[in-house]
Structures are given as structure tokens and as C-alpha cells.
Amino acid sequence: MKTIFLVDDSATMVLSLKSALEIAGFKVETAADGEQAMGKINKGLKPDLIITDINMPKMGGIDLIRNARKILRFTPILTLTTESQQAKRDEAKKLGATGWLVKPVASAELVKVIKQVLPGA
């Protein structure tokens, strides 16, 4: 069973997505911001996929991508955000993000994208 690491400061976001992803057959780990997320990664968490928001307190999504990529170089990272700024998007792409999704995204759509991105899912 593949593990998805969900990083978002919105509790409702995390709750609704976690439910949909678990039903789709994934194991889900969560963190409320970039700092918490890096804490888990540094302690050894090796998810098969990361989904992160951009605007979060303490450490935002862009910084998370930058830091996570140092440790998890090939793990696919998707951003799920209300941000539509081209600059942010380009920066994420440059730092190694795999995809850019704008909220709100139907969970069925999200699962489809995840299956596209995860090898052998």
C-alpha cells in the first residue's frame, strides 16, 4: 500500500482529502505546516507521494519543496493551493514539484492525477 503525505494547515482540507484517499486505498500521513512536515521527513518518513499547500504558517509550500527535495529526490510532489500566481508556479516547478493543482479539486480528479503520477499505482 502506497503512502501519501498530506501537508495543509486547513483541518477540513486534510480531513476530507484523507477520507477520499484512504477509500482509494492509500495510507495517509499528515502535517499542518512545512515545519511539521520536515520534522517527519527528517525522522525518516518516506512517503510515495507528497501533496502540499503553498500558503502555510511557519514554513510554506515552496520552502517545503526546496527542503524536502534535498532528502527525497525522486518522490513526486503535488501542490494543492488557491495560489494562481505564475511566479509561484514557476518557482515550484523549478524546485522540483511534479504538478500544480488549484483548489477546489474534486477528490475523484485528485485520485486520477495521483494514479497518473505514482509509478505502478
Partner: protein, 347 residues
């Protein structure tokens, strides 16, 4: 008079001047055209606009949520009703099942009696055949005796003829014996006839009894065959019932599950709403900073506030730029795939 035109406006103006002198009305708003104020007002307008939009979004989301939930509820209650009817159907079948077990019982009881019946018939038959054969043997014996007696009589007659006068009494006796022999024969014939008649009667009676029992068994077998078919039919029905029940309930559940998924998705709107409101705060802080700076300059007696004025005017524009960085959640897949600005983009 030529000056009546200007005079027309004079009276109300004097009336107003008098009223003002009696009770001064509100002063015309200070700084109505003040650039700083204009800037701040424009920002307020933008902030309220966004707030209104956020509230609208929240209402839309809540409405969508409640509508979907109501839909799910009605779907769910449809299932409850259907299952209630299915229960009635199932109860009717329950009676059928009970009847079926009675039929099975009858069938097995009937089948169990048959071997005993058959053995009994066979026994009777064998017995009768034995008795008849016994009687036949008896008449054969009698016939045998009669023949022997006749032979003796003939021999005696011959001897009597040979003996002449002395044998007269003897030949009478011989005659008597002969008569007895004939009588025996006749008796034997009669007995044979009786036996035949007996056998015929017995056969008739026997087969009558046997036939009746056979007829009864055949009728029973037919009846039970009908019931067996009924049994089979009712199991076919039951299987079909459960098949259809499963299909309908599974389908319903699948749709319900999809609906619930859609419902959970509406939770994402809450996040968008929250972020809009979160962005209001820094804008308002900026506004307050400008106001504070303005006040401190004025208190310090400095009249030149042009830099602060500029900042105030720029506030609204800056806020707009910030807001534009976030996609309108209700804008569907705006750009075509591959173009920047689409909702889902894989790099």
C-alpha cells in the same frame, strides 16, 4: 424686474443661513477630496468587496452542502422504504419455505413406505402361489389314486371273468370300485375346477387389491411430483428475489457513496474562504499604519503628508494585486491543458 432671477435663490439661502446660525448643521466632511482619505476609502471598498465575496462563497458552499445532504437523505430513505417492501416479500417467501419443508417431509415419508409395501405384496403373492401349487399337487394325487383304483378294478373284472360263477360277487365289487374310481375322478375334476375358480377369484381379488394400492401410489406420486415442481419454482423465485435485492442495494449504495464523496469535496470551500479572510488582516494593518502615520505627522504639526498620501492611494491597488494571485474557486478549468493558469497541471 431684471434682477428677479437671482432673487429667486436668495430667500432659501438666507433661510439656511438663519437655520445654521440657530443650530449649526454638520460641517461638510473634512477631507472629502483629501487624497489620503480617498485612498483609504478605496481600500475599504475593496476589503468589503472581498469580504462580501468570501461570505457569498461560504453561503454557496453551505447551500451546496445542504442540498447534497438533502439529496443523500432522500436517496437513503428511498432505500429504507424499498427494504421495507422487500421484507414483506421475504415474509411471504418464508411461508413458502415452511410449506416446502412439509412437502419434503411428505415426500420422504411416502418414499420410505414403498419398499415395505412392495415386500408385503411380494410376500402375499408368494404365499398364494404356494397354496395354489399345494392344492394342485393334491388333485394330482387324487387323480393318481383314481387311476390306480381304476386299473385295479379293471384287473379285478378280468380276474372275475376268468373265475366264472365264483367271481360274480367279485365282479360286482369290482364294478363298485370302478364306480368309486370314476367318482374320485369326477371329484378330482370338480376340485380342480374349484381350484381354478379359487385361483381366478384370488387373482381377481388379489389383483383388485393390488391394483387399488398401485393406483393409490400412482396418484400420490403424481401429487407429490406437482408439489416438487412447486418446491423447485419457489427456490427459483427465492434466488431471483435475492439476486435482484442485491443488485438494487449495491447500485444504490454505490451512488450514495459517490454522493458522499462529492459532499466531502465541498469542504474545500471552507479553506478558500478562510484564506480570503486571512488576507484581509494584513491589508487592514497596512491601512491602520497609514492612518497612524498620518495622525502623528499632523499632531507634530507637519503639513506635508504627500508621501503618506501616496501610500494610502496605493493600498487598494496593492490589495487587488494580492487578491489576483489567488484563483477564483468557481472558475472552471480556465485555461486549456498546457497553458499556464489551468486548474490541474503536471510538469
Amino acid at each position: 424686474m431684471a434682477s428677479s432671477a437671482p432673487l429667486q435663490g436668495l430667500l432659501p439661502r438666507w433661510r439656511q443661513r438663519l437655520a445654521d446660525w440657530i443650530a449649526p448643521g454638520p460641517c461638510p466632511a473634512a477631507g472629502k477630496n483629501d487624497p489620503a482619505m480617498a485612498g483609504l476609502r478605496e481600500l475599504d471598498r475593496q476589503l468589503l468587496l472581498q469580504l462580501g465575496r468570501a461570505v457569498g462563497l461560504s453561503e454557496t458552499a453551505a447551500l451546496s452542502f445542504v442540498e447534497r445532504l438533502a439529496g443523500l437523505r432522500s436517496q437513503s430513505s428511498k432505500l429504507v422504504t424499498y427494504l421495507g417492501h422487500a421484507q414483506t416479500q421475504s415474509d411471504a417467501m418464508q411461508d413458502g419455505i415452511e410449506l416446502n419443508s412439509r412437502i419434503i417431509h411428505e415426500l420422504s415419508s411416502f418414499v420410505q413406505t414403498l419398499p415395505a409395501q412392495i415386500a408385503q405384496e411380494r410376500g402375499h403373492f408368494r404365499q398364494l402361489v404356494g397354496e395354489v401349487q399345494g392344492l394342485s399337487a393334491l388333485t394330482d394325487t387324487i387323480r393318481g389314486i383314481a387311476r390306480q383304483t381304476e386299473i385295479l378294478a379293471i384287473n379285478a373284472a378280468i380276474e372275475a371273468a376268468r373265475a366264472g360263477e365264483a367271481g360274480k360277487g367279485f365282479s360286482v365289487l369290482a364294478g363298485e370300485v370302478r364306480r368309486l374310481a370314476t367318482q374320485s375322478n369326477e371329484s378330482a375334476s370338480r376340485i380342480n375346477q374349484d381350484i381354478s375358480r379359487l385361483v381366478a377369484t384370488v387373482e381377481q381379488g388379489f389383483s383388485g387389491d393390488f391394483a387399488a394400492r398401485t393406483r393409490h401410489n400412482e396418484a400420490e406420486a403424481q401429487r407429490l411430483d406437482r408439489l416438487t415442481r412447486q418446491l423447485d419454482d419457489s427456490y427459483v423465485d427465492m434466488r431471483q428475489f435475492y439476486d435482484m435485492l442485491m443488485t438494487a442495494v449495491t447500485q444504490h449504495n454505490t451512488e450514495l457513496d459517490r454522493g458522499i464523496g462529492g459532499l466531502l469535496d465541498t469542504a474545500q470551500y471552507q479553506d478558500v474562504f478562510k484564506q480570503i479572510v486571512d488576507r484581509l488582516a494584513p491589508a487592514m494593518h497596512g491601512r491602520n499604519d497609514v492612518l497612524a502615520d498620518l495622525l502623528s505627522r499632523l499632531r507634530a504639526g507637519q503639513r506635508d503628508t504627500s508621501d503618506i498620501d501616496q501610500r494610502a492611494q496605493a493600498l487598494a491597488a496593492e490589495y487587488l494585486v494580492l487578491e489576483a494571485a489567488h484563483r477564483d474557486p468557481d472558475a472552471a478549468a480556465d485555461a486549456a491543458p498546457g497553458e499556464p493558469g489551468q486548474r490541474i497541471e503536471l510538469f
